[in-house]
């Protein structure tokens, strides 16, 4: 399909997008459309276009009429957009796509399509022009001739207007020269987005589903309505389109997901949207644009404020407050960027915020008003590159959107526009190869273009693209990628990424060497990389009956170890450059065409587990054990010791001997800082696992250690909690010994012997010190 699109002007692609957009639009504003119908006809091309993409449902201007251009576009570029819609007369309206140059597709309700040729200067704005037909699509009254007439009329005005605005634009562009192209050409509008339509629409829809709670608008009737409209619209223009069907099922699926019942606070089922995907696809841009589009004020939390408290504060600020000052009194939409770098604590806070309601579910409707302040009433969009383990709990509660790769065709188109706008000459093929080289990373493409432009290259050709190394990102693809590449033979397919150095006769060796070296040296984390290689190389499927390879690998490992020692001891960092060769050797020793199954090295994890265990052991015991003898001598026997036979009955019924035993067990576990943690297996069963340390002394192939029964563990766990509380209280009491608690105004509650005191005028008016020992 790609091939086809490239060659034939992406017609089908357009068609598909077209239909999808239409659906969303129709869904978003079914009423507004009706109202518009008669006026739209008279409007200029440009006007209707902006009209279609602006959310008329936004709260600040619920009455926004479709005619009102000036007031309702918050983005300052409105005048520029006008110039972008030139029509050069009827000769530019074609029945079939023009052979060269840019054009706009327009379809009327009957399904007839015309193509409007575009003037070169308008290149930048082609993107948005694509949307034009959306607004028209729903209109039943239009016929082509009338529109042509209108266009003729409009043309004069536009030409005048554009003349005036071209000057303006010229001024603008001069001052913009110093800006990065990435910023300059970043999409400001929903329709300018380059990312996958489906993703865009889903996110928009999700955001829209917040409308009820945020803006207080009802959307009861919508499901029925939208379905009608969507069917109506999507069928007619899409009939010739085969591709739409492919999306159809997905769309419906997500629709179901999104149309799922709102909860009792009229919030959508998922409170958080989680966007994930490799860098440079425009995730952040998408979030911003869509939030703006839906009428929100974007509050972004970034990588720098990561501590849990700050995080909590910012979430609360963003979700519960509203800017009073300034013009934009829109509700906030929180965008948490790069959430994969956040610590688990921060994610837990986020989860707590999301679930705050759940605790108060029982609260009656009367109560709701009071509680309303504390529950989450604003949408949150999280953005991440990878799913790190810490995100796992979030994933279950989030509306997941995975970003697919940007379509190279669309990217190329955008690049072409930019190039044209800047007066660079570049053909599609060149841009295509640029895209491929950067793995379809928008940012990197545009940066490369700007770099080349800055160097004075006005004419681009494929060779230049191939020969520059600028566009190639010094990317950090993560250690897993490195290990994967190390242990896997490359597929036969030629890689363009490093292709520029390769000469056909040289064979794969050099290329592979360079590739792995490049990867390893750009990863930077040599220690971890080596650790991963060390823990994985033995499980590779390589024919090596005499273990020669293994021996050699060990030699190399020892070499890199020594190297490391010298580097760290003598601060001799010039030796650092020899470290990545370890990966290269491993590649040639162990690479295999199978996809390797890799595991993350866990020795560091184990070490951390041990040191956390050690760190909380009381000093009197701590002094006797070191990490080494803890692992070697104590731990596995200790695990044995803490599994005594306990009768599966209520601990109250234990004999005194058994009670003694239980007490000892709990003492031991507390002394060695062990505790059970309740966990849920993937099958949904609950188990108790010993926190942290169990893995350290576990070896594959050995019979599993005798475990306590679930019940026993539960008992132990509960007893331990109580013991901990008792101890904490004892400690507290020892610290402030016997403050005579005077209960002057005590009153008995009912016939119980719990008393409380009334502090008049205090927020904590009823207060009573109750000791743990009284409750247990």
């Amino acid at each position: 399909m790609d091939e086809y699109d490239e060659m034939f002007g992406i017609e089908d692609e357009f068609e598909a997008q077209f239909a999808d957009e239409l659906e969303v639009m129709a869904e978003m504003e079914p009423k507004a459309k009706r109202q518009k119908q008669d006026t739209v006809v008279k409007k200029l091309f440009g006007t209707t276009q902006t009209d279609g993409i602006t959310p008329p449902s936004s709260p600040e201007r619920p009455t926004a009429s479709s005619l009102d251009i000036s007031g309702f576009d918050p983005i300052p570029e409105t005048p520029i957009r006008l110039t972008a819609v030139p029509t050069q007369g009827s000769s530019n309206v074609l029945k079939r796509p023009p052979l060269e140059g840019d054009y706009i597709t327009v379809t009327d309700t009957v399904g007839t399509r015309v193509y409007l040729r575009q003037r070169e200067e308008a290149g930048e704005k082609v993107e948005e022009s694509r949307i034009v037909p959306d607004a028209f699509g729903a209109l039943g009254l239009l016929a082509v001739p009338i529109r042509k007439l209108r266009e003729h009329e409009a043309e004069k005005q536009i030409l005048e207007e554009s003349q005036r605005l071209t000057d303006l634009l010229a001024e603008n562009s001069e001052e913009m020269c110093s800006r990065l192209w990435v910023d300059r050409f970043s999409p400001r509008h929903y329709t300018e987005l380059l990312s996958d339509d489906f993703t865009n629409r889903c996110l928009l829809k999700w955001l829209k589903s917040w409308d009820t709670v945020v803006f207080g608008r009802e959307r009861k009737a919508r499901p029925v309505h939208s379905q009608q409209t969507s069917k109506q619209i999507s069928f007619k223009p899409n009939q010739p389109n085969q591709n739409a069907n492919r999306f159809k099922s997905k769309v419906e699926m997500t629709e179901e997901l999104l149309e799922a019942e709102l909860d009792q606070y009229k919030r959508p089922k998922f409170k958080v949207a989680l966007l994930s995907g490799p860098p440079g696809l425009g995730k952040t841009t998408l979030a911003h644009v869509i939030a703006n589009h839906a009428g929100y004020n974007v509050v972004e939390i970034n990588a720098d404020d990561r501590s849990a408290e700050v995080f909590q504060k910012r979430i609360d600020t963003a979700t519960q407050m509203k800017s009073v000052l300034g013009a934009n009194e829109r509700p906030n939409c929180l965008v948490i960027d790069e959430i994969d770098g956040a610590p688990a604590a921060a994610i837990n806070i986020l989860l707590a915020t999301i679930n705050r309601k759940d605790g108060q579910k029982e609260g009656e409707t009367a109560k709701k008003k009071k509680k309303k302040e504390s529950i989450l009433l604003r949408p949150i969009i999280c953005i991440c590159n990878d799913y790190v383990p810490a995100l796992r709990p979030l994933r279950q509660q989030a509306f997941l959107l995975t970003f697919p790769q940007t379509q190279p065709s669309r990217l190329v188109q955008r690049l072409a526009e930019i190039a044209v706008h800047q007066g660079m000459k570049a053909d599609t093929g060149t841009l295509m190869s640029l895209c491929e080289k950067t793995d379809n990373d928008i940012r990197s493409c545009i940066n490369t273009l700007q770099f080349l432009f800055g160097r004075g290259h006005k004419q681009l050709d494929s060779r230049m693209i191939q020969s520059i190394s600028v566009g190639q990102k010094d990317q950090n693809k993560g250690l897993f990628h490195l290990w994967q590449e190390t242990f896997q033979l490359p597929r036969v397919k030629k890689r363009i990424g490093e292709g520029f150095e390769e000469t056909p006769g040289l064979g794969g060796g050099t290329q592979r060497f360079q590739h792995i070296l490049h990867l390893a040296s750009s990863s930077g984390e040599y220690d971890k990389a080596a650790q991963g290689l060390y823990e994985n190389y033995l499980s590779m499927r390589v024919r090596d009956p005499n273990l020669h390879n293994v021996c050699e690998a060990l030699e190399w490992l020892s070499f890199s170890d020594r190297l490391n020692q010298v580097i760290l001891h003598g601060q001799n960092f010039s030796l650092m450059r020899y470290l990545p060769f370890l990966s290269v050797t491993f590649h040639f020793l162990f690479a295999h065409s199978h996809v390797p199954r890799l595991s993350y090295p866990h020795s560091q994890h184990e070490k951390n587990a041990l040191s956390t265990m050690l760190s909380d052991i009381p000093a009197s015991i701590r002094t006797r054990i070191s990490q080494l003898n803890l692992t070697l001598d104590i731990l596995s026997l200790l695990l044995e010791v803490i599994c005594p036979k306990l009768r599966p009955v209520n601990p109250q019924l234990f004999s005194s001997r058994e009670k003694e035993q239980l007490k000892e067990l709990i003492d031991t576990m507390l002394a060695y800082n062990l505790s059970y943690r309740q966990d849920r297996t993937p099958e949904g069963q609950y188990t108790y696992v010993l926190e942290r340390v169990e893995d350290v002394v576990k070896f594959p192939g050995l019979p599993p250690r005798r475990q306590l029964t679930y019940q026993a563990k539960q008992t132990v766990s509960r007893e331990m909690e109580q013991e901990k509380m008792r101890r904490a209280e004892q400690l507290l009491q020892r610290r402030n010994p016997e403050k005579n608690v005077v209960e002057a105004m005590g009153t008995a509650v009912g016939n119980s012997d719990v008393w409380f005191r009334f502090n008049e005028g205090m927020s904590n008016a009823v207060r009573r010190n109750v000791y743990i020992r009284e409750l247990l």
Binding site: T623, L628, L632, L635, D667, A671, F699
Partner: protein, 270 residues
């Protein structure tokens, strides 16, 4: 504190169960007044730490048993902050410098200097020196060991070092020649048996001598392991039977099985 290992640990030199002659010598040393730097070495589980703590108690009284964990941060000359945990009483300070990895030299230099340079103001009740206990000295880098040698001499008047390690092979000569070396051998099989019997007696349990023998052999004369094994046996089965299974540490089992797999005959099934 309820593992038997911790519960029945002797806390004074007089109560030590074996190497009594050495214990007596150490007592002499304390009474004699001038206390040299010590280098205590011996295999793991032979009771070095127990001996050292007993010695400290002999020196300073019960006060040394009031321990607390302190987190210290030391700023290296390169402005790098090093975090290290120490265990301290009012009279002594225990550090495991190898926790600091490659930066252990800085820990040695700075920590000992600060301790040593602070004079004991009042010295009638205590000794006029403090003790710094360095564990796992054999894991120190050579750099750190070199840094230690002159420090030991310089601050002799205010500070004594007790070095604790498994083997002196990795301790450089200059340090060895500056310390009084105390070798702590592993207890013999009989000694292990008698200790086990004593522990079981205190617990009110009956330990058949055969089982004690078996445990002490399996533990490789490592007393810590032996007592743990004994307790694990107790958890598994009580009353003891003479030929019951003695639980072993997993890594030993695993290594043994791997070794067996290597030497066992190759057959097509495998």
């Amino acid at each position: 504190m309820s593992l038997w290992v911790d519960k029945y640990r002797p806390n004074s030199l007089a109560k030590l169960d074996y190497h009594r002659e050495q214990a007596a010598q150490l007592k002499n040393l304390v009474q004699c007044g001038d206390f040299p730097h010590l280098l205590v070495y011996g295999p793991s589980g032979s009771g070095k730490k127990t001996r050292i703590m007993c010695l400290l108690r002999e020196l300073y009284g019960a006060g040394v048993e009031k321990l607390r964990i302190e987190h210290q941060s030391i700023v290296a000359p390169s402005k790098k902050k090093i975090e290290i945990n120490t265990i301290a009483s009012n009279y002594h300070l225990e550090v495991n410098p190898s926790d600091a990895g490659n930066q252990d030299r800085v820990v040695i230099q700075e920590l000992i200097k600060t301790v040593a340079q602070s004079q004991q103001i009042q010295s009638n009740t205590q000794r006029d020196f403090k003790v710094v206990l360095l564990t796992e000295v054999d894991r120190l880098t050579k750099d750190a060991q070199h840094a230690l040698r002159r420090t030991m001499e310089k601050y002799m008047s205010t500070c004594r070092l007790i070095l604790c390690c498994n083997s002196t092979s990795k301790v450089i000569g200059p340090i060895r020649s500056r310390c009084l070396a105390v070798r702590v051998p592993l207890p013999s099989t009989e000694e292990v048996c008698s200790v086990l019997a004593a522990v079981c007696k205190k617990e009110g349990l009956l330990l058949p001598p055969e089982l004690a023998k078996q445990i002490s052999e399996k533990s490789g004369r490592n007393l810590r392991k032996a007592i743990l094994m004994c307790e694990a046996c107790r958890v598994q089965q009580y009353p003891f039977s003479a030929d019951q299974d003695v639980p072993e540490t997993d890594w030993e089992v695993y290594l043994r099985e791997t070794a067996n797999a290597i030497v066992s005959q190759q057959s097509p099934q495998r």
